[in-house]
C-alpha cells in the first residue's frame, strides 16, 4: 500500500526579551543555577505576575509578519499540573483566546518550489525550569533560571507531507523569527524547540490516521530523523495489522528512535481556566499599527527585491535572503561596490567558504562588509585583478590591514594597465624564452592558442600578478603573431 505522511508542528520560540514574561528577572542564558529566579519565578506565597509588554509586542510582530488574524482580546489561562520544575503548580499560558490567530507561513522546498503552511494560532506562555539529574546521586536538582522565560508557541495545521517539508517549515520559522529580531533562534541553547505530530494514512484517504506526538526535538536534523523513524514505525505497525495508539513519544538522538512517554489515557487533565491575576489583554488598533510599522523587510519581500531590482538569480536571492545577517551583510557590500552580482558571488563564494572552514557565522566574519565592499570596488574599477583580489581578501581576513586600498598600496598590487610598461615586460619574456617562441611560430593556429597560456603565465609572474590579464593576452598575441 502507498502511505501518505501527515505532519503538524508546535514550535516553541524563546522570545528575546531581556526580562521574563511575568517578572523582572533576567533571561540571559548560562548563569549559575537559580541566580536568575526572583520571588515571582520561585512561586513564593503571595507573589503576582505582571505581563512584560515586550513579549506582547514580539508575539504581535510575529502575527503581523505571517498576516495572521489579531484578536482584540486575548486571555492568559492557567494550565495546572504538578512537576518539580514548575514552581507554581501551573503554567501561565493561553488556550481559548491566543494572541495570534490564523495565518500562513510559506516554505521553500528543495526543488525550488513553494508551499503555504497554515498556522492554526500562536500563543504566549512561560517556560518551566529545568530538572538536573546528572550531578546528584539519588536526588534531582532544580534550576529555575529558565522558569518564566517568555515563549511563543506556534502551532501549525497538519499541512506537511514529508520530513523534508517539516524541516523546511522549521527553517522558515527560524528565518522569520530571527529576521523579526524576536528570538536569537539558537537551537543548541533551546531558544527553539519543537513538538512534532506525525500520522500516516493510505494515499487518497481523506481522514487522518491516529497521530503520535514527538516531544522536544531540538534541531533541524533531528526533526527529519525523528519523523523518518516514526513514519517507518507507524507504517510497519499498520502493515502488520496493528494500530497506532495516540501517545506522546520522545526522540532519542543517540539511538535514533522514538520511545513512548505516555499514552492518551495517562494524559493530564490540565484544568485550564482564565488566570485571575492577569486581566484580559486588549490590543487596540493604534498599538497594532505601531507594531506593524516596526516590522523589518521580511525574507519573502527581500527575495523578490533581490531578483527584480538587483537582477540576482532566484538561487542567489533564496540563499542571500534566507538569513537576516547574510542579507544585511550582502546589502552593505553591495552598497559600497555597487555591483550586485559581484557582491553575491563573493558573499556566497570566497567569504562563505572561508567562514565555513573557520566555523564562524557571518556576524563573526573578520572581514567586515565595508571592507569586502571596498575590495570589490577595486575589482570593479579594474584597479586590481581577480588574482590580486584573493590575496587582498586573505590579508584582510588575517586582519593585517585596515582596508583593501591599504593592501593594494603597500603591496603594490595595482593592476598594470600602462601598455608601455607591459610591452616592456612582454618583450623581456619573449627574449628569455627563445625555444618556446620557436615552437609557437611553428605551431598551428589551434595549438598557438594553447601555447599562449604559457606566455601569459610568465608575464603575470614577471609582473607579480599586477598585470591586467586581458591586456596581457591581447598584447602578447599581437607581438608573437608579429614574429611569425
Amino acid at each position: 500500500m502507498q502511505w501518505e505522511t501527515v505532519i503538524g508542528l508546535e514550535v516553541h520560540v524563546q522570545l528575546a526579551t531581556r526580562s521574563k514574561i511575568f517578572s523582572g528577572a533576567s533571561t540571559a542564558f548560562g548563569a549559575e543555577p537559580n541566580t536568575q529566579a526572583c520571588a515571582v519565578d520561585l512561586g513564593l506565597p503571595g507573589v503576582l505576575p505582571v505581563l512584560n509588554e515586550n513579549a506582547v509586542a514580539m508575539a504581535l510582530r510575529f502575527g503581523l509578519a505571517i498576516d495572521a488574524e489579531i484578536p482584540e482580546v486575548s486571555v492568559f489561562e492557567r494550565k495546572n499540573y504538578f512537576y518539580p520544575d514548575l514552581p507554581k503548580g501551573y503554567q501561565t499560558s493561553q488556550m481559548a483566546q491566543p494572541i495570534v490567530g490564523r495565518g500562513t507561513v510559506e516554505i521553500l522546498l528543495e526543488d525550488g518550489s513553494r508551499k503555504a503552511i497554515r498556522i492554526h494560532h500562536a500563543h504566549l506562555e512561560e517556560d518551566a525550569g529545568k530538572s538536573l539529574h546528572e550531578d546528584f546521586i539519588g536526588m534531582s536538582g532544580i534550576d529555575l533560571n529558565r522558569a518564566g522565560t517568555p515563549l511563543l508557541e506556534i502551532v501549525s495545521e497538519p499541512d506537511m507531507r514529508s520530513a523534508k517539508e517539516a524541516s523546511a517549515y522549521l527553517r522558515a520559522i527560524h528565518t522569520l523569527v530571527t529576521y523579526l529580531g524576536i528570538s536569537d533562534g539558537n537551537m543548541a541553547e533551546g531558544s527553539m524547540r519543537c513538538d512534532v505530530n506525525v500520522s500516516v494514512r493510505p494515499k487518497g484517504q481523506a481522514a487522518f490516521g491516529t497521530r503520535a506526538e514527538i516531544k522536544n526535538v531540538n534541531s533541524f536534523r533531528f526533526v527529519e530523523r525523528a519523523i523518518a523513524f516514526e513514519v517507518e514505525r507507524q507504517i510497519d505497525l499498520l502493515e502488520e495489522g496493528g494500530k497506532v495508539v495516540q501517545e506522546t513519544r520522545l526522540f532519542d538522538p543517540e539511538a535514533d528512535e522514538t520511545r513512548s512517554m505516555r499514552t492518551k489515557e495517562e494524559a493530564n487533565d490540565y484544568r485550564y481556566f482564565p488566570c485571575p491575576d492577569l486581566l484580559p489583554l486588549m490590543l487596540d488598533s493604534a498599538y497594532v499599527d505601531h507594531q506593524r510599522s516596526l516590522l523589518p523587510e521580511l525574507p519573502s519581500a527581500k527575495r523578490e527585491r533581490f531578483i527584480e531590482q538587483l537582477g540576482l538569480s532566484t538561487y542567489d536571492a533564496d540563499i542571500l535572503a534566507s538569513d537576516r545577517d547574510t542579507a544585511e551583510y550582502f546589502e552593505q557590500v553591495m552598497a559600497v561596490c555597487d555591483d550586485p552580482k559581484l557582491a553575491a558571488n563573493w558573499v556566497q563564494g570566497d567569504l562563505s567558504a572561508r567562514l565555513n572552514r573557520a566555523g564562524l557565522s557571518i556576524g563573526e566574519s573578520p572581514v567586515g562588509a565595508e571592507q569586502l565592499g571596498g575590495l570589490l570596488k577595486r575589482i570593479k574599477d579594474e584597479t586590481i585583478n581577480g588574482k590580486a583580489a584573493k590575496q587582498v581578501f586573505s590579508d584582510l581576513w588575517e586582519r593585517r590591514f585596515e582596508n583593501a586600498d591599504q593592501v593594494i598600496e603597500i603591496k603594490g598590487l595595482k593592476q598594470v594597465t600602462d601598455s608601455g610598461a607591459l610591452a616592456q615586460v612582454i618583450d623581456q619574456v619573449i627574449e628569455a624564452n627563445p625555444v618556446q617562441v620557436t615552437q609557437y611560430r611553428e605551431a598551428t593556429e589551434e595549438k598557438r592558442g594553447k601555447m599562449l597560456g604559457f606566455f601569459v603565465g610568465q608575464v603575470m609572474k614577471a609582473s607579480r600578478g599586477t598585470a591586467n590579464p586581458q591586456q596581457v593576452n591581447a598584447l602578447l598575441k599581437q607581438k608573437l603573431d608579429a614574429l611569425c
Binding site: 506565597p45 503571595g46 503576582l48 503548580g89 487533565d269 484544568r271 486581566l279
Partner: protein
C-alpha cells in the same frame, strides 16, 4: 491610653501625651497577659516592635513624624512580612519565613506604624469561625466560649480585646466583616482593586481584598489612606486617585437614600440581629436619611456561585505548596509522587483539602462549563443586581451575619458554616466595598450592621458609618477582661 481608638491614639501621639514606646510596651504586656487564652496572635514580634517604636519616637522628636508614626497595629498572618514567619494559619507554612514584604506591609511601614505581630486566622483564609487554624481556635473576647468569626478572627479578637487598636485583615467572602460583627469592632472591605494584593497569600485571587479592622470608621479611614492605591506589582490593582478618606467623614447625611435588600431580612435571620439592624436604620432616619426597600434577586445564588469560583481559584493557587521549594515536606519521601501526596496530606487541614477537591473537580474536563463557566455568568448577574440597586439608592444596609457569634464547635457541618457568609459573600463577587459597624447586642453578643456602597465609594461609605458612630456608642463598648 491603651483603650483609645486608633485615631484618638494617633492624636495623643501627635500631642505628645504619650510615646509610641509606652503604647507598645503596654500592649505587649496585655498580649502576654490575655492572649494565652484568646490566642489571637500566631507570632508576636516584640523586639522589632520596640525597635520601631523607638525609631518612631525619635522621628517625632525631630519633628519628622507623619500622622501614623509610632501607631501600633497587627497584621493577619496572611501578609508576607520580610524576616517574619508567615503561616496563613497552616501547618504547611509553619516554617515559612517570608523573604519579602507585601505591598500593604511596606506601605504601613513607610508611614511609621509599628506591627506587634501576626494574627491567627482560618487556614489559608478558609473559614468563618477561626476554628480551621493549625495554631488553634481563637476565643471571642466577649465570651470565651464563642468563636470570633473568621477568617480574620485573630485580627478581630485582638482589636476587641484591646491588644491592638487596629489590625489588618483580608476578606474573600466576608472574612473582615463577619468577624468584625462577631467581635463588636469596625471592619472595612474595600473595592476589589483598591488595595494591592501583592504579598498576600492568595486564597481566591478574583475575590481577595485587604482592609482595616479597628474601633471606628475614622480609624478605618486613616488606615485606608495608608494602604490604598495602585501597585505596579499587582495587575488587578486599579490606577485611580486615592482621596483623603478622612476629609468627608463629617459630611452631612441630608437626603441620603438607604436601600434595605428584601433578601437580607428573610428566613434564617436571627430576630435579635434583625431588631438591632432595624434600630440602626432608624438612627439613620433620625439623621435625615430616607429608607426604601430594594431587591437583589440573585442573592440565593451567591453562596453556590462563590463555592464554585473560590475553590477553583484556590485549587490552583495552593498547588505551589508541594513540598519542593518551601513549606512542609514529609519525612523520607519514597519518590516524587509520595513527596507530593504526603507533604500535602500532612500540611493541609480538612477544610483546605475539601476546597481543593471541590475546585479540582469543578475545573475538570467535562465539568468546567457546568460549574465554572456557569458560575462566572451568575457572578455577572449578581454584580448587576448591585449596580441596579445603586441606581436607586446611595447605600445598602443589612446585617453582616445572620446570627451573632456562635459557640466554639457549634457548626460542625460545612454547609451550615458556609451559610454564615450569606450576607457578605455576594459583595466580594460584585467587587463593591462594604463595612461592618457595631450596632448593638443580642445578650452579650455584638451585632454588626453592614453598609454597602458602589465601587470605589469608600469615602462615602466611611462618611455614612462615621455619622452613625457620632451618635451611638456601640463601637466604644468593651468586653470585660481578666
Amino acid at each position: 491610653m491603651l483603650d483609645l481608638t486608633f485615631a484618638e491614639m494617633a492624636r495623643g501621639l501627635a500631642a505628645g501625651e504619650f510615646k509610641s514606646v509606652e503604647l507598645v510596651r503596654g500592649l505587649l504586656a496585655r498580649i502576654e497577659r490575655l492572649d494565652p487564652e484568646i490566642n489571637s496572635f500566631v507570632t508576636v514580634t516584640r523586639d522589632q516592635a520596640l525597635e520601631r517604636a523607638e525609631a518612631a519616637d525619635a522621628q517625632r522628636a525631630r519633628g519628622e513624624a507623619g500622622v501614623l508614626a509610632g501607631m501600633p497595629l497587627a497584621l493577619k498572618d496572611i501578609f508576607c512580612t520580610e524576616g517574619v514567619r508567615t503561616t496563613a494559619g497552616s501547618k504547611m507554612l509553619g516554617n515559612f519565613v517570608a523573604p519579602y514584604s507585601a505591598t500593604v506591609v511596606e506601605k504601613l511601614a513607610a508611614t511609621g506604624t509599628v506591627s506587634l505581630g501576626k494574627t491567627n486566622m482560618d487556614e489559608f483564609a478558609m473559614g468563618s469561625s477561626n476554628e480551621n487554624s493549625h495554631f488553634g481556635p481563637v476565643k471571642n473576647p466577649w465570651d470565651h466560649s464563642l468563636v470570633p468569626g473568621g477568617s480574620s478572627g485573630g485580627s478581630a479578637a485582638a482589636v476587641a480585646a484591646g491588644l491592638v487598636p487596629a489590625a489588618m485583615g483580608t476578606d474573600t467572602g466576608g472574612s473582615i466583616r463577619q468577624p468584625a460583627a462577631f467581635c463588636g469592632i469596625t471592619g472595612l472591605k474595600p473595592t476589589y482593586g483598591r488595595v494591592s494584593r501583592y504579598g498576600i497569600i492568595a486564597y481566591a485571587s478574583s475575590l481577595d481584598q485587604a482592609g482595616p479592622m479597628a474601633r471606628s470608621a475614622e480609624d478605618c479611614a486613616l488606615l485606608l489612606n495608608a494602604i490604598a492605591g495602585h501597585d505596579p506589582r499587582d495587575s488587578t490593582s486599579v490606577s485611580r486617585v486615592v482621596p483623603d478618606y478622612t476629609r468627608d467623614l463629617d459630611a452631612p447625611l441630608d437626603g441620603l437614600k438607604i436601600g434595605l435588600p428584601t433578601e437580607y431580612f428573610g428566613d434564617g435571620l436571627d430576630p435579635g440581629v434583625e431588631a438591632a439592624v432595624r434600630d440602626a436604620v432608624k438612627v439613620y432616619e433620625s439623621l435625615g436619611a430616607r429608607v426604601v426597600e430594594v431587591s437583589l434577586p440573585h442573592t440565593d445564588l451567591a453562596i453556590p456561585t462563590y463555592y464554585v469560583i473560590a475553590p477553583a481559584e484556590a485549587s490552583s493557587n495552593l498547588s505551589r505548596y508541594d513540598g519542593v521549594r518551601f513549606g512542609h515536606r514529609c519525612a523520607n519521601p519514597l519518590d516524587l509522587e509520595d513527596l507530593y501526596k504526603r507533604s500535602r496530606a500532612e500540611g493541609f487541614g480538612e477544610e483546605v483539602k475539601r476546597r481543593i477537591l471541590i475546585g479540582t473537580h469543578t475545573l475538570s474536563e467535562g465539568f468546567f462549563d457546568a460549574y465554572y463557566r456557569k458560575a462566572q455568568q451568575v457572578r455577572r448577574l449578581i454584580r448587576q443586581d448591585f449596580l441596579d440597586a445603586f441606581d436607586k439608592v446611595d447605600v445598602l444596609m443589612g446585617p453582616a451575619a445572620p446570627t451573632p457569634a456562635f459557640a466554639l464547635g457549634a457548626q460542625s457541618d460545612p454547609v451550615s458554616m458556609y451559610l454564615q457568609d450569606i450576607y457578605t459573600i455576594a459583595i466580594n463577587l460584585a467587587g463593591i466595598p462594604g463595612i461592618s459597624v457595631p450596632a448593638g447586642f443580642v445578650g452579650n453578643r455584638p451585632v454588626g450592621l453592614q453598609i454597602l456602597a458602589p465601587h470605589f465609594a469608600e469615602a462615602h461609605l466611611l462618611n455614612v458609618a462615621h455619622a452613625f458612630q457620632k451618635v451611638t456608642d456601640w463601637h466604644q463598648r468593651r468586653p470585660v477582661q481578666d
